[in-house]
C-alpha cells in the first residue's frame, strides 16, 4: 500500500512537472538575453523620431524604480494586444551601467520581457532630458508616445487603461 502511494506520488510529480514545462513552451517563446545594447543619446535619438506608419511607445525606466516596475506589465500587454496594429514598444533603461549584468539582464530574463530593452548611458543629462522633451524634469518613470502625425510626453506612471486610451488617440489620427 505504502509503495503504491509512493509510486502514485512520483507519477503526480512527474506529470505536473511535465505539464508546467509544456505550458512554458506554449505560452511564450522567450529567449533569454545575454547583452543589452548600450546607447548614448545620439545613438538613441533615431529611435525617438522614426518617420513611418508605426506608432512607438518609448518607456524610460530602471529596475531600481519601483513605480516603473509596477507599470512594466502594462507596456508588455500593450505590445501583445496591439502586435498586429503597427504599434511598437521600446523600453529605455536608465539603470547604472555597472549594474547591467548584475541587475538589468537578470531582471529581463526573470520577467521574460518581450519588448526590446536598450540602455541609455549618457552623462550629459542636462542636455538630453530636455532634448527628448522640453517638459521633462527628469523624473522616472516617463513615457513618449509618437507617430509621424503626433507626439506626446508623459512624466507620470500609467495604469493599463490610461495607457491604452492614450494609444487609441494616436491610432485614431
Amino acid at each position: 500500500m505504502k509503495k503504491s502511494i509512493l509510486v502514485l506520488s512520483f507519477f503526480l510529480v512527474f506529470f505536473s512537472c511535465k505539464k508546467n514545462a509544456e505550458k512554458i513552451v506554449v505560452v511564450d517563446d522567450f529567449k533569454p538575453v545575454k547583452v543589452v545594447k548600450n546607447y548614448n543619446y545620439e545613438q538613441l535619438k533615431p529611435l525617438l523620431e522614426k518617420d513611418d506608419d508605426t506608432t512607438y511607445i518609448v518607456n524610460f525606466w530602471a529596475t531600481w524604480c519601483a513605480p516603473c516596475v509596477v507599470e512594466l506589465p502594462y507596456f508588455e500587454k500593450i505590445k501583445k494586444e496591439y502586435a498586429t496594429k503597427n504599434v511598437e514598444v521600446l523600453l529605455v533603461s536608465l539603470d547604472f551601467p555597472k549594474q547591467v549584468d548584475k541587475k538589468l539582464i537578470p531582471f529581463i530574463n526573470k520577467k521574460k520581457l518581450q519588448a526590446e530593452v536598450v540602455l541609455l548611458d549618457d552623462a550629459n543629462e542636462d542636455f538630453w532630458i530636455q532634448a527628448i522633451d522640453e517638459s521633462w524634469t527628469g523624473a522616472l518613470p516617463a513615457t513618449l508616445i509618437y507617430n509621424k502625425k503626433n507626439r506626446k510626453f508623459y512624466e507620470q506612471s500609467f495604469e493599463y487603461e490610461t495607457l491604452e486610451n492614450e494609444l487609441k488617440n494616436f491610432l485614431k489620427l
Binding site: 531600481w64 552623462a123 543629462e125 542636462d126 530636455q130 521633462w136 524634469t137 523624473a139 522616472l140
Partner: protein, 202 residues
Amino acid sequence: MKNIKTILLLAVVAISTAAFTFKTDSGYLVGDTIEDFSLKNINDTMISLADYKDAKGFIIIFTCNMCPYSVANEDRVIALDKKYKSKGFQVIAINPNDPKASAGDSFKDMKARAEEKGFNFPYLFDEGQKVYPKFGATKTPHVYIVTKNDMKVQYIGAIDNNSKNSDAVSEKYVENTVDYLLAGKKPTKTTTRAIGCSIKVL
C-alpha cells in the same frame, strides 16, 4: 468710460488669478519668492528657514533614503554642507516621499540613514507631503537655491553634471551658483536637469 474701466479691472483680476493658479500648479520658478515652512527634523525639533538668522541663503535639497540617485549624491550633499555652512549657505534636506508609498522612507528610517552617514544638516520630513508641491519638486534629488534676504529662488536643478558618477563631474552647478551669489553676482546657469526618482505619494 466707467464700463471700460470695469472691464479692464475684471481682466486684470482674471489674468492675475490665472497666473496665480498656474504658479500653484507647477511650483516655484527661478525668481519667485518662496513661503517659509515648518517641518520636523530628525532630532524631533521643528525647523523653519527663519530660524537661520545669520544665513545668506539656503541649499534646499529634496532627497530620500531609497532612490539610488539620492544615495549616489549623499556624499556630495555632505560636502556642500561642509563647504558652504561657514560661508552662510545652509543645506536643508527634505524627504518629500509618503512613507506609505515608499517603504524605507519613514521618519525612523530617515533618522537611521542620517546617523549612518553623519548628516550635519537638517533632514526634514515633509509630513502630509505639503511642502514639496509648493516648490514644484518632481523628483529626488531636486535642488532649490534660495537667497535669504529676499527669499527668492536663484537656481533649480541638479547638484552637478554627472549624477551617476561623482568622479566624472566637470561642472558643479550648485557650487558655481552659490559662489556667484556669495560674490554678489548673478548666477549664469539657473536651471539644469538630471534623472531622478519620482516623488512617491499614494
